[in-house]
Subunit: 239 residues, 2 copies
DNA sequence: AATTCGAAATTCGCATACGATATCTGAATT
DNA sequence: AATTCAGATATCGTATGCGAATTTCGAATT
């Protein structure tokens, strides 16, 4: 009776596939996406592709390039700053609420998430490290009991996946400090200390912001230089 | 060359029309929306209607009722609390940023917004009062210079429109305190006092939250009672 | 060699069509 | 009177088709 989504619609499948490719970097920034090509590649009609693209555009992953398809939006350091500013208050709120309302679930389910995060770093898989980080923060949204924060933060996460992916493709490893901070946050939540949890959450994000902003900026200067030297003009097409 | 949107697509037009009807209450909570009927009513094909409904669903204005169309999501007091909690931090942030980066625009464009708000109350038009309130807060998002806050808060605003509409259809007037608080916030922003602006912004939202939560709860008890006495079972259809 | 211009090719948005699945209705049965 | 069951109906998701607008590209011109 209560089937969440036993067979996700083609729209959702296509949406997820395109988004994954964007986050993984398979679809590079500024790459052109053509409905017909995507439809052929995924073996569906243009209809679900068009709808998926509309959702992606809605959330800022692609931008219109009229009569030339849509292009993957480039990662911009200013946008990153904005996103982190917003996440700072949103995650701060979710930590506070979690400490107020979600201590029990935090105690039961939290430690496993921390463990998985540390394993991911040890294992060295970029995808795992990203997934673990996303999962941890998503978990806090969930136990905060406020669907609205989760929704507000949701679009940011895909953006974060893109950023982390881009940086980690060069860095290979998230610093393990991250997981110490996560553990501290979790403890404050379990202890039921809203003020402390909020503060730790906010500083955690602020630190991450500094780290990633710096690395993204460095990364972009590199690639900008490379592009200049190659006199790259046209947009690459999706293969 | 840079045309924003000279001819909004049918999807957007349909989206706006449906959303307006939801916010105005023409489409009541739990009303069934059938693609065919909407298409006929708006004289377009089902295609743009389907896509508009997907966006509305995405943003929580309608919910799936498989094979029975979608229904307008009811306004729920708990959801309202969640939304206000989120808005409190989001609006607090935008006020702070506005004081840091947007004093100039605030000084130039702000007073007119306050004036329009007070006129709206004097004039007594519900729609105007809502629009003025939305405009004021949206203005702060804009001058905060952080697109991300604006995006995060965006879905909330339609929700607010629905709430304010429902309450004002009974109340007739927003309390004029609201606009005194708005004026105080604006002054802090113009004066370039981020801390004060943030604090005023947050308490403003907190107060509004209390006010509207109470009124919504009262309203819902009334209508619940009315419905009980009429033994309303089926969902109303869209006419 | 650079520029202009027009025809061909792209690409999209929207309409229409089809098939699958769930719901509804009403007659037959207990 | 309540229940069961099957056919009719409603509704959606996806595929395909069409027309309009824009870009692209190569040939003619300066």
């Amino acid at each position: 009776m209560a089937d969440g989504a036993p067979v996700p619609s083609l729209v959702e499948q296509v949406y997820e596939r395109i988004l994954s490719e964007i986050c993984e970097g398979t679809l590079a920034p500024n790459a052109r996406l053509i409905q017909d090509e995507l439809a052929a590649a995924y073996e569906v009609s243009r209809q679900p592709v068009q709808q998926a693209l509309m959702l992606l555009r809605e959330r800022g992953f692609v931008a219109d390039a009229p009569k030339r398809g849509v292009i993957v939006t480039p990662l911009d350091a200013d946008v990153l700053r904005d996103v982190y500013e917003t996440r700072e208050v949103l995650d701060g709120l979710s930590c506070r609420l979690a400490a107020e309302r979600g201590s029990d679930r935090a105690r039961i389910e939290g430690p496993a998430l921390i463990a998985r995060g540390r394993e991911a770093i040890a294992g060295g898989s970029v995808a795992r490290q990203i997934a673990a980080d996303v999962d941890f923060h998503q978990f806090i949204y969930a136990i905060s009991g406020n669907r609205s924060v989760e929704e507000a933060a949701h679009p940011h996460w895909h953006f974060m996946r893109r950023i982390m992916g881009a940086v980690l493709r060069v860095e290979r490893n998230i610093s393990s400090d991250i997981w110490n901070e996560h553990a501290a946050i979790l403890n404050a939540i379990i202890a039921g200390e809203p003020g402390k949890a909020e503060k730790l959450g906010r500083t955690h994000i602020a630190r991450a912001s500094k780290k990633f902003s710096g690395q993204l900026r460095a990364l972009q200067e590199q690639t900008a230089a490379r592009h200049r030297s190659r006199s790259l003009t046209a947009y690459p097409r999706v293969g």
